[in-house]
């Protein structure tokens, strides 16, 4: 039997991140194909039920690293924990969710193990016992197939690209605590404070629906109509680079080559003309709806549905129509 697949089970105070469940589910699928097994690593200071849950998605063994030094994510202690788990199970592959911290850790663990990580992978193939992975480059303008020349394959999985298995709560697995000593060298970075967003925002990279506004919004005050539509659709709010550079929206809302790459079920582009850098960041959305005054705007070339018109009339009308529909 080949060596196991190790999964970094990212959790927040003991609650598994969606991306961690997707990674466990994909690891299970791969381990079935490779006839190996899935080992989960859970790191934190307050693990709650997080050590039990990986079994529900197919992990046969769970390693835990617990302690005050692991309460907040910082690169060095988490890397040390991952390397300890690697030395324990000698996995052929290590999977991470490609969340912000997951990608940070995947790169750092790769460095510690003398190799490179495959980041933001969108599919993995295990035919013939060799892992190859596909990942977008140039913000999605092209896709490459890559393999690791050195074991282990270190892979982060782009959120929403892998199906989360249904949880089977009858399953249990062996849990083993790993002792990882943290010294002063690992603690040169200290988390002082966590600043939450003012309102509970839906993460762009995890959102099922995104409503985005661009240069056509004409000013920050008009985003109210975008937010109203987003609230009805339970959507995240995004923005084009033009809107962010104009200071109308915060940088973390930017979708595109120098912002976030997103793949929601539906992307509603309001007053966005569709520069190549923006299209790169959102064109893997399943359904694109464009509302724009200019019938020649490039956004209409990628949109599944388009309305040519004034967004200040169309967006509120759309919000009203959806409300009617729901009510």
């Amino acid at each position: 039997m080949p060596n196991p697949i190790l999964v970094f089970v990212e959790n927040k105070d003991g609650t598994l991140k969606k991306g961690a469940i997707e990674a466990l589910s994909e690891a299970k699928r791969l381990s079935d194909a490779l006839k190996s097994e899935v080992v989960a690593l859970v790191i934190g200071n307050n693990l709650g039920s997080a050590a039990k849950e990986p079994a529900f998605y197919g992990a046969t063994k769970v390693l835990t690293v617990e302690g005050a030094a692991f309460g907040h994510y910082t690169t060095a202690p988490y890397t040390k924990a991952m390397v300890a788990a690697f030395n324990k199970v000698k996995p052929d592959a290590i999977l991470f969710p490609a969340t912000l911290n997951g990608k940070d850790l995947a790169g750092s663990v790769a460095g510690a193990l003398g190799t490179s990580a495959l980041q933001d992978v969108i599919s993995i193939n295990a035919d013939g016992g060799t892992l190859t992975a596909r990942r977008p480059v140039y913000a999605g303008k092209a896709i490459i197939t890559v393999k690791a020349l050195k074991a282990p394959s270190i892979i982060s999985l782009r959120p929403k690209m892998f199906t989360a298995a249904k949880s089977d709560q009858s399953k249990q697995s062996q849990v083993e605590k790993l002792d990882v000593a943290i010294d002063a060298n690992d603690q040169r970075v200290k988390v002082k404070e966590v600043l939450k967003a003012a309102t509970a925002k839906i993460e762009l990279t995890e959102a099922d629906i995104i409503v985005s506004g661009g240069r056509g919004m004409k000013g920050p005050e008009h985003y109210k109509i975008i937010e109203e539509l987003a609230a009805i659709l339970k959507a995240a709010v995004g923005a084009s680079r033009a809107a962010v550079d104009a200071g109308w929206r915060p940088h973390e809302d930017q979708v595109g080559q120098t912002g976030k790459t997103v793949c929601p079920t539906m992307y509603v582009a309001c007053g966005i003309s569709g520069a190549i850098q923006h299209l790169a960041g959102m064109s893997s959305s399943k359904c694109i709806v464009a509302i724009n005054k200019d019938p020649e705007a490039p956004i209409f070339k990628v949109a599944n549905y388009g309305i040519v018109g004034d967004l200040f009339e169309v967006v509120p009308a759309l919000a009203n129509e959806l409300k009617k529909n729901q009510g």
Partner: protein, 253 residues
Amino acid sequence: MKIAVCIRRVPSTETTVKVAADGKTLDPAGVEYIVSPFDEIALEEGLRVKEKLGAEGNEVIAVTVGPAEAATTLRTCLAMGADKAILLKDDKLYQRAPYEIAQGLSAALKELAPDIIFFGKQAVDDDNSQVPTITAQLLNLPFVGLIVKLDLAGKTATVQREIDGGKEVLEVVLPAVFSAQKGLNEPRYPSLKGIMAAKKKPMEEKAANITANTLEVLKMEYPPSRPPGKIVGKGVEAVPELVKLLKEEAKII
């Protein structure tokens, strides 16, 4: 204080990607190259730190791994205000995996021994987002990625970094490695005076020290093409039809 900023020469974000005849790489014909946009933010931060501390005894050094043509990219950095530049020559840059590039950079950075090393959070061509953290690993330095704010007090930096759903404040002991996220600052344009001055600034060239080989690209392809778009109609009158299509055809709402 010595500040090193690691730069990557990338195809302009305006580039329409064409796959080369080998089926694995970008066809470089007609491609214009720029400083990777996140690296511009990193360089701007380096320049601002120096400006705050004063010119005396403080310097900003731009470092890159790349082909001979990357000297042009470094000249742009010098024109923006970097004091000197180091080109670690490597003709295979675009076939190199992150570990290899970090290996080349860290060998040179070890000699330099900077107090701060800045990177952009990712290069906008290979989108690998890991050279900064691997470099930190190889140099045994603390690392904080995705910073959007930086304050210095002696040998300690207080930074804000982006996390999923918010930000956090961290305290870091220098020397340290940081990667810059959009929002940290607005990079300046090179001034005419800067461009003239850049011609006289020192640029060191030496071979990049790279021996590792960690990844192999097997294929590069285009993303699946989208079906031709459909204009539902004009103005508010088209809204009911759009909602109907989203409900019955796309089955999204």
